[in-house]
Structure formats: C-alpha cells, structure tokens
C-alpha cells in the first residue's frame, strides 16, 4: 500500500508554527485526499500539538532558569499520505504529562467556563481528528492523529 512521508523538523519556537501549518496543508493537498475543510482541521490540530510542545519546552527552560531557545530543542513532524488517509505525528522533547489526567472542561453553560483560558488544545485535537493517540513520558510527547479521506467530521 502506498505510504509517502514528508518529514519536517523545526526549532520548538513560536515563529516556526506558521511554517509547520503551511507544510502540513501543502502536503495534504499534494494528493487531494482531504477537502479544504479537513485540511483546515489538520492545520488546527498540528498548531495545537506544536503549541503544547513549545509550551512544554518553555516550562522546562523556566525550571532550568534559561532561555527556551538555549535548549535547542526541536519538534519533529511526520505526515504520511496513504491512499485513504492522512496520518500526522508530532513529537517533542518536552517533559511530558499524563494525557489521561487532564481536567475536564466545565460545561459550556457553567459560568466558571469563563475562567478557562486554557485546556482547549487537546479537546480540539480529539474533536477534529478521526483517530488521536497521545503517548507521553519524561523524554517527550508524541501525538498521532489520523484523518480519513472517507469519513469527514461533521460540525
């Protein structure tokens, strides 16, 4: 079965995020498996995963009292194109976390929702993908998502 892969590795810094989104969108369009809406979903997913990676690095650098850029850390992105789906893997070198131990978001009608300025990233990744898997440890985190060509997520 066809599996063409585009690998990208960038410094774990905010200014590379737009580039990552551009590459992912450009790759997904090489074989037009996904329609424009799903390509946009993929841009959000990848942006969320990379933002978390950058944030994790910032935390690690703060702990060490240094500039995040001094860690020279990178984010590795793989985009697999097969004949029926697009699979993207985002891997970082941050300190990891327990993906099963995230606070649930308060219900949207709950007035305390207004307190939530964060915690939307992983819910978005899960909602916009057909398959999402997060593995994390002290060496880093790996987010794997799949978007199927056949089964568009409806909004």
């Amino acid at each position: 079965m066809k599996d063409e892969v585009v690998h990208l590795r960038v410094p774990a810094q905010p200014e590379y995020l737009a580039l990552v989104r551009m590459v992912i969108a450009g790759t997904a369009r090489i074989d037009p498996l996904l329609d424009d809406e799903r390509v946009d979903d993929l841009r959000v997913i990848v942006s969320e995963a990379c933002t978390n990676a950058i944030e994790a690095l910032r935390v690690r650098a703060d702990d060490q009292g240094i500039d995040p850029a001094a860690l020279d850390s990178t984010i590795a992105i793989e985009c697999h194109l097969s004949s029926s789906r697009v699979e993207v893997i985002i891997a970082d070198e941050g300190g990891g976390f327990d993906p099963d131990d995230l606070d649930a978001l308060p219900a949207v009608t709950d007035p305390s929702r207004l307190r939530i300025e964060r915690g939307l990233g992983i819910p978005l990744i899960r909602a916009l993908s057909d398959e999402a898997e997060i593995t994390s440890g002290p060496e880093g985190t790996r987010v794997r998502v799949v978007l199927d060509a056949e089964a568009p997520v409806s909004t």
Binding site: P14, L17, D40, T51, V108, T109, L114, E117, T155
Partner: protein, 113 residues
C-alpha cells in the same frame, strides 16, 4: 516575523479592533497586549472583528476569553464579528459560541449589543 494586523476604529461608543492574519502562540501575545491596553484606557466596550483572520487556534481563543473576563469585571462587554466557517468551527467545537456574542457584522455587533 509573522504579521498580525490590528486596526482600531470607533463606532457608537464601541472600540472596534479588526484583526487580520493568523492568531497563534506567536502572534496572540500582541493581540492580548492590545486588548489589555484598551481595557486599561477604560475602553471596556469592545468589538473584535475576526473577519480577516485566516487562522485561530486555542491560544487565540484563550486571549479572547481572557479579554471577555476582563471587560466584564469592568462592567463592559466584548462582542465578536465572525462569519467565516473555518473560524466559527473552532468556536463551535470548544463550546465558545455559547460564551461569546458572535455577530455577522460590526453594524450588527454595535447595534444589538
């Protein structure tokens, strides 16, 4: 340097901030700073016009939620203008369509709110 356009105009007592470009972790701090600045100047009735935003992720949403909180604390209000389906989608999925008043135009936002 990724560009984020921030253009401020005035409409019927509302401060209208038109945002253009991509709002992510690289650019959101500039948006936050601008919104915090407005509230600091006593401008607590704010419309954020997202019509020219090509991309927004949770970092951008977080800045908007933070600003909403801030204006409400100061007895003001914050309304959004957004019709683009790709931008509306992230508000819908995160449930924020129920938190924000989202209007189809600046006119609608400044009249109805």
């Amino acid at each position: 340097m990724i560009e984020l356009g921030l253009e401020l105009t005035e409409r019927d007592g509302w401060a209208v901030l038109a945002v253009s470009g991509e709002v992510d972790v690289a650019t959101a701090p500039r948006l936050r700073e601008r919104l915090v600045g407005l509230v600091g100047e006593g401008r607590t009735r704010i419309v954020v016009d997202l019509e020219k935003v090509d991309f927004i992720d949770s970092t951008g949403l977080g800045v908007l939620v933070g600003a909403l909180k801030r204006v409400r604390t100061n007895e003001g209000d914050l309304a959004l203008v957004c019709t683009g389906p790709r931008i509306l989608k992230v508000f819908e999925i995160t449930g924020l369509t129920k938190v924000f008043a989202i209007h189809r135009s600046v006119d609608e936002a400044t009249v109805s709110a």
